[in-house]
Symmetry: C2
Subunit: 222 residues, 2 copies
DNA sequence: CTGGATCCCTCACGATACTG
DNA sequence: CAGTATCGTGAGGGATCCAG
């Protein structure tokens, strides 16, 4: 019972008491792709102090958002996973992430892109309509971060690392955001060298249709 | 410009840097029904210190989420309103509020219900399909907080205060949540006196169909 | 009276070191 | 690997004060 309560009988206020603390929703984000160990979560959020990570995990467990589970022998290690209630946050997390992506500028030099954030970002930007009657596998490489996205008639499967038979491998950087936001065209990106392709290059046009970020605010934040 | 950054090039991390600070999303909530003055916001969130309110308003304005506007004479007063970008947060706020409402327990003695939180809650719980071919006006009274909700064939209009010709006036308390969650039936609520009706009492059954909170976690949070 | 700014205190957060 | 312990800092909480 946090003494630091909003003092309102309101669903939103209660939600913010459950997952509104710093780092909490980023932990939920990293648990969306699947269960994680303490160290995995730490690696996915290098700037979180371990005591804060520990505290958040306890709070989220107490709130029924995540569940702490001890794996069967011989590993015997501990994983954290979303409960059913926690999984129901997925749509909110995706929507909020997409909203934020609309005003995302250039990354600071110290900013990183993690595997889980990229997986969730692909899910958030996925346009099922645009993926109808489409069957293709992409491999996306942002620095050391590699994920694959396989599309099969309106459905999406994203995962960590390479995939056996990608139709197109996309190697790029933060410019991927401008690409998905339609701020630059695929051909521009290829020409200025910010995107390198291996495979069927024409599939990049499909990619930016299937994964899309809506326009952001006309007056960018100061 | 918070020096306290998450250090990730990620839409969600950026969104949380914009609206993830304490009180920020509650301010957005209170601005959803319409523009508000500093004092209105303060009254809607009695526990927010004025310096924090001031800081949040500046940050949200700098982020392009809200806009500070000086009303024309003779009032000359200042109102804060959501920008278009800020308005695009509405669906997220409603979804997060609905998620939180599912695990909302009994209010603490000091907890309050404000007009704006109630208006937003009604919008969040509204089920357009259940409101098809329905035309009815409700007046909802929770203590001093009075709002009206008028339904017209799948559309909803909510507002502060009474409405001229309500078909049903519902006077109740926090039990309204259990009612919308289907945890108790309208007849039960009437029988035990936790709901008092004026008008066509049969319309209460429609009310709990049109405004609904999905089931919460089976294991309630500790 | 509205629309804040200023002060002081506390506690959560952040960084680091350390333990089972 | 999975956390706990310690300690400094800065944001949040609460009251008061000030300008238009």
């Amino acid at each position: 019972m946090p003494s630091r309560t909003y003092g309102q009988f309101c669903g939103l206020a209660h939600a913010l008491e459950l997952v509104g603390e710093r780092w909490a929703l980023l932990l939920v984000r990293d648990l969306i792709p699947g269960p994680k160990r303490f160290t995995d979560l730490r690696n996915g959020l290098p700037r979180i102090p371990t005591n804060v990570l520990s505290a958040r995990l306890k709070e989220l467990e107490g709130s029924g958002v995540i569940h702490r589970r001890v794996l069967p022998r011989p590993e015997g290690s501990i994983v954290y996973e979303l409960t059913e209630y926690g999984r129901d946050l997925e749509d909110v997390v995706l929507a909020l992430g997409l909203w934020g992506a609309r005003s995302l500028g250039q990354p600071l030099p110290a900013d990183i892109v993690t595997t889980d954030s990229l997986i969730v970002a692909l899910r958030a930007t996925f346009q099922p309509e645009a993926a109808r009657r489409l069957q293709v596998c992409y491999e996306l490489r942002l620095g050391d971060t590699v994920v694959h996205a396989c599309i099969d008639d309106g459905t999406l499967q994203v995962g960590e690392g390479s995939v056996a038979e990608a139709d197109l491998v996309i190697e790029t950087g933060p410019v991927i955001r401008s690409l998905l936001a339609g701020e630059i065209s695929p051909s521009e990106a290829i020409q200025n060298g910010s995107v390198h392709l291996t495979g069927d290059a024409d599939l990049l046009a499909r990619f930016v249709e299937v994964f899309h970020i809506p326009p952001g605010p006309s007056k960018p934040p100061g």
